[in-house]
Amino acid sequence: MRGFEQHLGEFRQRGIAIAAISVDSPAESNKLCHSRGYTYPFLSDPDATAIHAYGILHPKASPDGQDIARPAEFLVDSAGIVRWANLTGDIRIRARPEVALEAIRKQLGT
């Protein structure tokens, strides 16, 4: 999250928006964005409907046993087609901004 904020300019320069999605409420996201200085949109999916539609539900995995998203990244082009997807096998190891930028360069050109 922090890494993507630091590289936000490079994504914008390439015409790529960034959005983060979780089951957290807008109020919780607001707090997170303010405390960490995130400026890209954080979207709230409290019922995990979008998370379910993307097939990345991690059932009963939150600290209080709720369904949440497994960490995942999808690059969607302007036609709404998935051009790159990254489903990590380890929750500690998220895609780095450099890896996403490389995928953008390969899939959509610079």
Partner: protein, 143 residues
């Protein structure tokens, strides 16, 4: 004769504590110390080693060194902390579902409309407007 404070035991325990506490705010920020947390493993080894030295002193030379009881308790506690970390890294962080239903490359991305942190409704189409694409980052939440 007054027995000496067994500093190795306490220093060892302090290093073990520092190792587990530092992972998320420090070492997890950098891929080189995150993917394989060798810095934390080294700290655990150093802390447990020091504890071992302290315990050896306490038991082999109890006339001069304190720490038979405190050292034993802190030693067990330290082993538990290090074990918890290693099991977390090698096992629990890899417990993820298979996700066979996730859209593949070339397939359409499911549309959605969700509230942003100000409560404003944002759709996938809104995110794509005027852009060549959007990177969706799904995360676990509950921070």
């Amino acid at each position: 004769m007054k027995r000496r404070w067994n500093i190795a035991i306490w220093a060892g325990f302090a290093i073990v504590l520092a190792s587990i506490i530092s992972y998320i705010p420090v070492f997890a920020l950098f891929p080189i110390t995150r993917d394989i947390p060798w810095a934390n493993y080294l700290l655990f080894a150093a802390g447990l080693g020091l504890l071992g030295v302290g315990l050896k002193r306490a038991f082999s030379d109890p006339q001069h060194y304190r720490g038979k009881i405190s050292g034993s308790i802190l030693g067990v506690l330290s082993l538990a902390i290090a074990g918890f970390f290693v099991v977390g890294v090698l096992y629990f962080s890899k417990q993820l579902p298979a996700s066979p239903g996730a859209p593949r490359v070339g397939q359409p991305a499911p549309s959605f409309t969700l509230a942003n942190s100000d409560g404003k409704q944002i759709s996938l189409a809104d995110l794509l407007k005027g852009n060549r694409g959007v990177l969706l980052i799904f995360y676990r939440g509950y921070w």
